[in-house]
């Protein structure tokens, strides 16, 4: 398995390289460049020339490309043009927030998706089943940012239960540890829900049919014939066999979670990677954007690999090679 993982990671390198290159080309294709942000209005010609030279903004594209790649290979992933700080530092500041959001979303997707899907399978054809299907059809069609806004409207404005934005209370640093944790969690609920709801609906739907299929299998009948209680049959036998499609789905959902977080972070003013990338793009701060994409690429690859490994762990018939 180690060998397989290493091999997967190795083949991911050309992919990440391709992503970064494509990014670079697109940034180059955009009219204008970071000078728009850097050079203040009414600057003198000398200042303009100096700034352009400092960041090599007039160098031929090939050179700039190599320089960009070189930057990425350094430990710092290059230097942000606008903020003059190492890109890595910026990323490390923003990443935890995004990871927290993504992890929370994943957890929500799993719990809600599996829970509701299982209930639907066990109470097939009932009002619960049909109602849940209806809700999931709608959830799937709803734009995530709109859902985010509706949630804020509902739970932060009309019923002021949860906070409407930011990752933490501005006074958080002064709160005792326990309260601080609770505050963080409260801030996580709405964004994670907005991000994960559509996928949770998808998982519920697939899990329902997977579980129904499994319950029909012979080995479930064997388990019942041995006198194992219904709860045990469900959790130890049925769920284990039905989990496979969900794990696959989770692996596929990862890239969408990362890109979906851009929009959700906007709605909630969440200080994460999405905001960082967006600002970088707006300001055409190439090193920042490239650095972020590198990190995203790696995260997606690692996520996919974890999903594959988890699948193999669940089903001994699958051999990784």
């Amino acid at each position: 398995m180690i060998r397989y993982s290493l091999r997967r990671l190795l083949t991911a390198i050309p992919l990440v390289w391709a992503v970064v290159t494509l990014c670079f080309l697109l940034l180059e294709a955009a009219p204008g460049d970071v000078s728009g942000t850097l050079i203040p209005q009414g600057a003198s010609v000398e200042m303009r020339t100096a700034i352009m030279a400092k960041w090599q903004l007039e160098a031929p594209m090939g050179l700039r490309y190599l320089a960009a790649l070189g930057n990425l290979c350094t430990g710092e992933l290059g230097l942000s043009v606008v903020r003059e700080r190492p890109v890595l530092d910026l990323i490390l500041e923003a990443l935890p927030a995004t990871l927290a959001l993504t992890a929370c979303s994943l957890a929500m997707m799993v719990v809600l998706g599996l829970g509701i899907g299982s209930l639907q399978a066990l109470r097939r054809g009932s009002w619960l089943d049909r109602g849940a299907t209806l809700i999931s059809v709608v959830l799937h069609a709803v734009p995530s940012f709109w859902l985010a806004m509706v949630l804020v409207l509902g739970f932060a404005l009309w019923l002021p239960v949860l906070p409407a934005s930011q990752a933490a209370d501005p006074m958080a640093a002064y709160m005792p540890g326990w309260e601080r944790l609770l505050d963080r969690l409260a801030h996580l609920v709405l964004p994670a829900l907005a991000l994960g709801a559509a996928n949770a609906a998808l998982i519920a739907r697939h899990h329902r049919s997977a579980l129904l299929e499994v319950m029909d299998q012979d080995f479930i009948r064997t388990a019942r014939a041995l006198g194992l209680g219904p709860w045990r049959v469900l959790t130890r036998h049925a769920l284990r066999a039905a989990l496979l499609p969900t794990v696959t789905l989770l692996g596929l959902a990862l890239p969408f979670l990362f890109s979906g977080s851009v929009v959700v972070e906007r709605v909630f003013a969440w200080p994460g990677m999405g905001t960082l990338i967006f600002e970088g793009i707006e300001q055409q701060d190439t090193p920042v954007v490239l650095g972020c994409f590198l990190v995203y690429g790696v995260l997606v690859v690692v996520g996919g690999l974890l999903a594959d490994v988890a699948t193999a762990a669940l089903d001994p018939r699958i051999r990784l090679d």
């Binding site: 992503v19 940034l27 294709a29 069609a141 734009p143 929009v263 709605v267 994409f293």
Partner: protein, 283 residues
């Protein structure tokens, strides 16, 4: 092998009919907007700005007093055709590439497959990047640009579907017969192979319209879509974000988007279920 389903056979799937109804309904509303809209969607009136839904402005007004109902109706004239155009681009490109890959095989296939996998691996974020990068300085022709970009990033699954369909059809007797008769490859591909690849593409295309409308909404929300003052459902929601307690600015466009996507999803699911039935069971 899947025969093209007819409207007649859709009768069997009530949900699909509901989807079709939703889609057609919204489409008709959009087409009839100039006659249905009670006010001019672009007319700015600072007096009744931010008024909640009421008798005069059925769905309220926005920050500069424009009627939301009219803007909603006119917004459909942007969001819906944009989605359809983008899917047309994606389906066209995907079908072409997939057919070429499946039909000619060899290096053509390998190259196209590699290309497809590359695009598939790019996170959707690159899509946003693409539009923003090129579009932020461009103000005319945004509609076509956004449609084009959405299409250029959605063709991959279509290519895969078409490729595998073409591969399986190629071994069928009538294709071998056509080859044996010495018919030119282009004719074989177009007349004898491709028609059989189309039904699954129809299913996917229907579902794709849904995701494309959502993507366009997201782009508009981020300020990258068709610019103001033209109303689109996405940029109406973006406006709504600035004054969340004018809830009508947010809620109604979102409902419109949801209805459209639900419609296309139900339609696509119905088509898929229909195609999955064995031939004998279809009316």
């Amino acid at each position: 092998m899947a025969l093209p389903p007819t409207l007649h056979s859709l009768r069997r799937q009530p949900l699909a009919l509901l989807g079709l109804g939703l889609v057609l309904g919204l489409g008709l509303l959009a087409i009839a907007a100039p006659w249905l809209a009670p006010h001019d969607p672009l007319q700015v009136q600072l007096g009744p700005a931010h008024s909640p839904p009421g008798a005069r402005f059925l769905l309220g007004t926005d920050a500069v007093g424009r009627d939301c109902l009219s803007r909603l109706l006119y917004g459909g004239r942007v969001s819906l055709p944009l989605g359809l155009l983008a899917v047309a681009v994606a389906a066209g490109l995907g079908t072409t590439l997939g057919a070429l890959a499946g039909f000619f095989g060899g290096w053509v296939d390998k190259g196209i497959t590699w290309f497809t996998d590359l695009f598939l691996a790019l996170p959707r974020l690159v899509l946003l990047l693409a539009v923003l990068a090129v579009a932020s300085q461009v103000h005319h022709g945004r509609f076509l640009l956004v449609a084009l970009v959405l299409g250029l990033t959605g063709w991959m699954p279509v290519a895969r579907i078409v490729r595998s369909q073409v591969l399986s059809v190629q071994a069928r007797p009538w294709v071998l017969a056509a080859r044996g008769l010495g018919l030119p490859p282009s004719r074989i591909l177009l007349r004898h192979v491709l028609p059989w690849a189309l039904p699954p593409v129809m299913v996917h295309a229907s579902l794709l319209v849904g995701t494309t409308i959502l993507a366009e909404a997201a782009l508009s929300f981020l300020g990258l879509g068709v610019p103001q003052p033209t109303p689109t459902w996405g940029n109406m929601i973006a406006e709504g974000m600035r004054r969340l307690d004018s809830w009508w600015l947010t809620v109604f466009p979102g409902l419109a988007i949801t209805a459209a996507v639900v419609g296309f999803n139900l339609l696509g699911d119905g088509l898929r279920d229909l195609l999955a039935q064995p031939r004998e069971n279809r009316p």
